[in-house]
């Protein structure tokens, strides 16, 4: 791997190597730019460093101190953060879905949220690029939305939890399909096909999972980029001319300064606004790129409620990836009394997570918990990924407390809105019907859960109403960019990683075009 000196002024210094930063690093390096990508986490090796142990794998999450408040404080951890080269994609559940095209214009077409400054047809092109780069294993034809090309790899064999979703969906007259997943169903390069261990929402020790870690990062390095791990960015420096000059970062026990012509922030919806806010100067007293006051605003998560039940027959839902089948029925059906959509997928929580659900959602403890855990092999469930509407009351600000690097920690404020609650109730009702249709007994809902994040540096059409433009370039500082899920104006009812990658791929192409026209 090529290594740059601190006083080398690289073309792009990217902070974060997840779905946004890692993808962008790979593509920009392949476009011929000099690139350094920093990550606060470790550079793990899948075959050696990932144990099949739920607790051991917590090393992949961003568990640094934060303050979480609001009426419904978010629980930070595995579902919404990552601290490793490759970002949270190292442990993501591999679900790789495209947005419904209308969501890019949800304000004008569907009457809620905000329009994106992106066209869905252009995104369709970049979705395809991302799907090819990750060899997504998906159904031969996808039942919802405009026609999309066949997925590069075939869908995986559906486990019995997935078949039960299918049975329920068919009983309700809904379509279902195999979930497009970023784990290969046939060999690909150094990745053997998935062996269906079920340790999927962790590091994949089979190396079948296709994440930034084993796709874009190696491509970035091959194209001459430097991946600098264990490097925590603390501050973006800006000169008197109003341009970013580089990044102050902490590595090997000391602070350093890396020079760069362009700085890209790809820290996701908490760390991105935190870094921008922590980089405030007298000229930018409210943080960088924040003339609109919207940095940290419109924090979104996705509703992740579930309905569980028990079958008389064994299900053994831990076998294989947890989300093998999906119904996007309510993402494409507009005959409903709330805004936004949701999908649900089959489930396969591992024992510790299942114990958490039993204690949290059902309040089981002691002997009752022990007895109920014995039914693990008979449990079945459905879990939603639902759209949460952007709301200015949900935001990321800075707390006065400081972390191990001496940086002010983020304060994460979140409450469900009225629409969110109606959507969740609707989803729980529908999932319950599906569970009843398959003959599940002792059905119960897990009402408190949320997962992916978005917002906090939204893209838009004008400097007054957004932080970055369609190219992820900040309106205020021409050589400062934000490229991750925080640019989402709305979050849609599907997992966001593929959309983040598609945006990064588009941004890389736009940067290349702008460089050719001397517009950087």
């Amino acid at each position: 791997m090529r290594e740059y000196r601190l006083d080398d002024e690289v073309d792009f210094l990217i902070i974060g190597t997840g779905a946004g930063g890692g993808t962008l690093a790979g593509k920009l390096a392949e476009h011929g730019f000099s690139v350094i990508a920093l990550d606060a986490g470790l550079y793990f090796r899948p075959l050696e460093d990932f144990a099949s142990d739920e607790t051991e794998q917590e090393k992949l999450y961003w568990l640094d101190r934060r303050v979480c408040d609001g009426a419904d404080p978010l629980q930070m951890g595995g579902k919404n953060s990552g601290k490793a080269v490759g970002g949270s994609m190292v442990h993501f559940a591999m679900v790789s879905l495209r947005f419904r095209p209308e969501w890019f214009k949800s304000r004008s077409l569907l009457g809620y949220g905000a329009d994106w400054p992106l066209d869905w047809r252009e995104m369709w092109h970049y979705y395809r690029q991302a799907e090819l780069a990750l060899s997504i294993s998906g159904p031969v034809s996808y039942p919802w939305g405009p026609k999309r090309p066949r997925y590069p790899y075939r869908a995986h064999e559906v486990n019995s939890a997935g078949r039960l979703l299918a049975k329920g969906a068919e009983a309700l007259g809904m379509q279902w399909t195999e979930t497009p997943l970023a784990t290969v169903s046939a060999p690909r390069g150094k990745s053997p096909p998935c062996v269906y261990r079920g340790f999927c929402r962790f590091g994949c020790s089979t190396n079948a999972k296709q994440s930034t870690l084993n796709t874009w990062i190696p491509r970035a390095i091959a194209a001459g980029a430097e991946i600098r791990d264990l490097a925590m960015a603390g501050r973006i420096e800006v000169n008197d001319a109003g341009r970013a000059t580089g990044v102050r970062f902490h590595r090997n026990g000391a602070w350093h300064f890396q020079r760069a012509r362009n700085v890209v922030v790809s820290g996701y919806a908490i760390e991105t606004p935190r870094l921008l806010l922590n980089s405030a100067t007298p000229r930018h007293p409210h943080g960088l790129a924040n003339s609109s006051g919207l940095v940290g605003k419109y924090l979104m998560t996705q509703s992740n409620q579930a309905v569980f039940g028990r079958m008389d027959d064994e299900v053994r839902w831990y076998k294989g990836p947890p989300s093998l089948t999906i119904t996007e029925h309510w993402n494409y059906q507009d005959n409903k009394d709330f805004f936004g959509g949701y999908c649900w997928m089959a489930q396969g929580p591992l024992p510790i997570e299942w114990a958490f659900i039993q204690t949290g959602a059902r309040g089981l403890w002691g002997e009752a918990l022990r007895r109920d855990m014995m039914n693990y092999n008979h449990q079945v469930g459905l879990k939603m990924v639902g759209e949460v509407l952007p709301d200015t009351r949900n935001h990321v600000t800075l707390d006065d407390e400081r972390d191990q690097y001496g940086l002010r920690i983020p304060r994460i404020t979140f409450s469900w809105g009225e629409n969110d609650k109606i959507l969740i109730d609707h989803a729980i009702g529908q999932m319950t019907l599906s569970m009843q249709a398959i003959g599940a007994r002792e059905i119960f809902a897990q009402r408190e859960d949320a997962n992916h994040l978005a917002g906090t540096a939204r893209m838009g059409f004008s400097p007054e109403t957004s932080v970055v433009n369609a190219d992820c370039r900040s309106w205020d500082i021409a050589n400062l960019w934000v490229c991750d899920g925080s640019v989402f104006p709305t979050t849609g009812g599907v997992n966001p990683s593929l959309t983040i990658q598609a945006i990064a791929l588009r941004t890389a192409d736009r940067i290349k075009a702008m460089a050719q026209h001397g517009e950087l």
Binding site: P139, A155, R163, K167, E178, P187
Partner: protein, 289 residues
């Protein structure tokens, strides 16, 4: 009732039957190993899953017996075994179709990919069919043309070979599609056998005297591809997690090693068909090869 004694060299029809036995035996071996491995993987969940293993063993024994038997007529027990084999294959196909249809979604790619493979039981059917044809061919006096339902046996056998090649190629195509044709060599069994099938259709319908050098050559290549396929599948197993060190898992989950030689078995039957056509041109005298 014995028509002739054991001679130095077997009668030509018996020689052709010998080739058919070899083809049938190759298919039976493929089925024995493949259904054995796959049904062990399935834990013999349904007791009927033991049937193809037993039937293919019986077929193999009959082929062996037919091969060393130099009498120019059919044998009642062998004939019965081959007929039973055909029936077993048909029942297996029905079982596998049921297996596909009973899953949610019924006839969809997911179930075609991951249920009992639709085309696999046909291999045992073909094995029995080639055995039956061998019995029919050998049961012909030395100077007469073997006929099946009144039609030149060479033509019938050519047509059966063509259909078998297409069917087996379809099965390989389905499973290689499941594997996303991730290795370019995976296209060979979906291109070479259909070409061979076209050539065999030509042999079945064309002028019987016309001498083709290309058709037998292409059949030999297709047969060789079947053997090479086993090599490719051995390599394929090595690409699964743990490779051959983890053979107890990877051999079951990887590409089926015994499956590709089905093509070799069918190619052998095709060569037998061509030999019959050469030996009995309908419009000229016999020229035994």
């Amino acid at each position: 009732m014995r028509r002739q004694c054991v001679r130095q060299s077997p009668a030509p029809a018996v020689q052709v039957a010998g080739r058919l036995y070899r083809g049938s035996a190759m298919l039976a071996t493929s089925v024995l190993l493949d259904s054995g491995v796959e049904h062990i993987r399935g834990g013999f969940y349904n007791p009927a899953m033991v049937t193809p293993v037993l039937t293919s063993l019986l077929t193999l024994a009959s082929n062996l017996h037919g091969h060393v038997d130099r009498h120019g007529r059919r044998h009642g027990a062998r004939h019965a075994v081959f007929a039973l084999t055909v029936a077993t294959g048909a029942a297996g196909t029905a079982f596998h179709i049921y297996n596909i249809l009973k899953k949610p979604g019924g006839l969809r790619w997911q179930n075609l990919f991951y249920s009992g493979p639709l085309g696999a039981p046909s291999a045992i059917t073909l094995s029995g069919l080639f055995g039956l044809l061998a019995e029919r061919v050998r049961d012909t006096p030395a100077d007469t043309m073997p006929r099946i339902f009144g039609i030149n046996a060479g033509r019938v056998l050519s047509a059966v070979t063509a259909l078998s090649l297409l069917g087996t190629s379809g099965e390989a195509g389905l499973l290689h599609f499941r594997g996303s044709f991730q290795n370019p060599a995976m296209y060979l069994p979906v291109t070479m056998p259909p070409a061979a099938a076209a050539l065999m259709t030509g042999a079945a319908l064309g002028k019987s005297r016309k001498s083709h050098w290309f058709t037998p050559l292409w059949l030999v290549l297709t047969g060789a591809m079947g053997i090479a396929g086993t090599g490719f599948h051995i390599y394929g197993v090595s690409r699964a997690m743990g490779g051959w060190r983890n053979w107890r898992q990877t051999m079951f989950d990887g590409p089926p090693i015994p499956a590709p030689p089905s093509f070799t078995g069918i190619a052998l039957a095709g060569l037998a068909a061509l030999a019959l056509l050469r030996a009995h041109p309908e419009d000229g005298e016999a020229t035994w090869a």
